[in-house]
């Protein structure tokens, strides 16, 4: 009984210590984020649900786009990414003109290359070549789409 109580007490001590360490770690992380905000541009990283390859609806709802990288996106590699463009009802959009832009909002710089659509694959699918992200972190990848439903922009948030 006595020994059990001793163990219990040491466990309590351990738990308290662990919790204290955890709290310290959390406050340190918060602190370093605050510093990043001072040195960065102040852009706020979107919620986790806003990230990903899509399907993603354009700003004015005209198109739904989905990214299909040929290989998983990795920093510092020149990559090819296909994009599937459909209207709100899921019909493939062919013959669209698409321009590519992007950058890191928190660092205030754009893409290190000038990627562009090099092939209209058909069935609303377009091939974008020359895509490179030169560091890990939050990237915006923007497509300006001019197609049969009008002009609109879709912005992907990518976590490299």
């Amino acid at each position: 009984m006595t020994s059990t109580q001793r163990i219990d007490r040491s466990m309590v001590r351990r738990t308290v210590l662990t919790l204290a360490a955890l709290a310290a770690a959390i406050s340190m992380t918060a602190c370093s984020h605050a510093m990043m905000m001072i040195h960065g541009t102040g852009a706020k990283r979107p919620a986790a649900g806003e990230f990903g390859l899509g399907p993603r609806t354009s700003a004015e709802g005209r198109y739904v786009a989905t990214l299909e990288p040929a290989t998983p996106l990795r920093p510092r590699q020149m990559q090819t990414v296909r994009v599937s463009v459909r209207d709100a009802d899921g019909r493939a959009i062919d013959e669209a003109r698409i321009s590519v832009d992007g950058g890191m909002p928190q660092h205030g710089h754009g893409l290190p290359t000038r990627p562009r659509v090099t092939r209209n694959v058909g069935d609303g699918i377009y091939e974008i070549e020359g895509v490179r992200f030169n560091m890990g972190g939050w990237w915006e990848f923007r497509l300006a789409i001019a197609g049969s439903r009008g002009a609109d922009t879709v912005t992907f948030n990518l976590a490299l």
């Binding site: 219990d8 738990t15 770690a25 370093s32 990043m36 001072i38 040195h39 920093p75 020149m78 890990g136």
Partner: protein
């Protein structure tokens, strides 16, 4: 009660194990551990092929390239080789602000190890392959100072058998003068123009193959593990990383991937994004106006020896040229992000050796002065002196050996 004792004891055991595991991680979060692993040499991808150079991975070419690299006959005055500035015992650089060949250049000598992994070469990225890069200094009037005709003659005089084994028959150079080529020297240009198109192509082909052999040698220069890599390997294997880095060095590493924002450019296993940035480093007084990448991006597109040129061994597309950024104001006085591997071994720093010590470099990033030309991308870090010292201590953990190809065993005479 026995059960209770047992469960309490096992909980205590679990708690102890958790503590040990946490100490094995040296206080890094799983996300930070991923980032550290991404910066370790263990994450370095295999050396990419260079389809523009068909002898890039030919050991015979690498052996010829090694001998050419150290050969001072490849210069106007017989006194300058690649190794004059790229000194093997100094991590293949020279330790001075402005490189000196037959004259003095306007740029700091760059290291070579792992450069085969860089899409663009030189501080302004005006070359797009190792072999095209190697040809630049040979025709620079202040580096090797000679002409491509001279170099073709040196190969024919001293390396004919090895050259022909790799590249095929040497051309007839009997009517080619030793000084002829598209260089700033007027006499050499006149002699060059006096040659027929076929003769010029013959000479240029030998010249290009010199570059390709040197590139094959340079591709073999790879980086060995530093104390930082040993530290990450210990963390990855779950071993307590004690005694590998000091507390100050670990604190510097935390700053490096944290609020000092270094990984914005110095990321990946080579600590470089291979991109170009204006960091507001003032030009060295007395040097000609230098626009850095703004000029380099244009130059590489029209370079005689680029990936699209007739001298490339590949007819495939050249994505680095096809999707290059040119003409943007952000490129003005932007320079290549150098690898930080061995950075502690190669003062002075920056494109013209403007900053003498690592402490001066860190002070520059901390203050982030405005650029004299173009726009600096830096913002003041406002780090404390002790933090700058910790960063410097960390940077010095990135030193490691460079492996180079050993000379091939002497061939038996037949």
């Amino acid at each position: 009660m026995t059960n209770r004792t047992f469960s309490a004891a096992s909980l205590a055991l679990v708690a102890t194990m958790a503590t040990v595991a946490a100490s094995g991680r040296d206080g890094w979060t799983p996300e930070q551990l991923d980032e550290l692993r991404s910066m370790s040499l263990a994450s370095l991808e295999p050396l990419p092929r260079d389809p523009t150079n068909r002898v890039a991975d030919d050991p015979r070419a690498a052996d010829l390239g090694r001998r050419l690299f150290f050969d001072t006959r490849l210069s106007a005055n017989g006194g300058v080789a690649c190794s004059t500035c790229h000194q093997p015992d100094r991590a293949f650089q020279d330790g001075i602000a402005l490189a000196r060949g037959v004259g003095t250049t306007a740029r700091r000598t760059m290291p070579i190890a792992a450069m085969a992994r860089s899409p663009f070469l030189f501080w302004d990225g005006r070359k797009d392959s190792l072999w095209a890069q190697a040809l630049g200094p040979l025709e620079s009037p202040v580096e090797h100072g000679g002409t491509r005709a001279l170099y073709a003659h040196v190969v024919a005089d001293a390396y004919a058998r090895d050259y022909e084994e790799i590249f095929g028959a040497l051309p007839d150079l009997s009517r080619v003068p030793r000084s002829a080529g598209p260089v700033p020297d007027q006499d050499a240009v006149s002699a060059w123009r006096a040659l027929s198109g076929g003769q010029r192509d013959d000479v240029t082909r030998v010249f290009v193959n010199i570059g390709k052999a040197i590139a094959a040698y340079e591709r073999g220069m790879e980086l060995g593990p530093s104390r930082f890599d040993t530290y990450v390997a210990a963390l990855t294997s779950g071993q307590p990383p004690h005694g590998i880095l000091t507390d100050a060095e670990v604190a510097g590493l935390r700053l490096f991937i944290g609020k000092a924002n270094c990984t914005q450019c110095h990321n990946g296993p080579l600590f470089t994004s291979n991109e170009f940035h204006n960091t507001g480093v003032a030009p060295r007084p007395g040097l000609p106006v230098d626009h850095g990448r703004l000029a380099g991006a244009t130059a590489v597109l029209s370079d005689e020896f680029n990936c699209r040129s007739e001298w490339s061994d590949s007819r495939a597309r050249c994505p680095e040229l096809e999707f290059i950024v040119t003409g943007e104001h952000t490129l003005d006085r932007a320079y290549k992000v150098p690898s930080l591997r061995n950075v502690g071994e190669r003062a002075p720093y920056m494109d013209a050796g403007q900053l003498a010590t690592l402490a001066e470099v860190l002070d520059h990033y901390n203050r982030a002065p405005a650029a004299v030309t173009g726009h600096s991308e830096l913002r003041p870090l406002r780090l404390k002196p002790v933090e700058l010292q910790q960063l410097e201590a960390f940077l010095r953990t990135l030193s490691g050996p460079i492996s180079v190809m050993e000379p091939a065993p002497a061939r038996s005479t037949q």
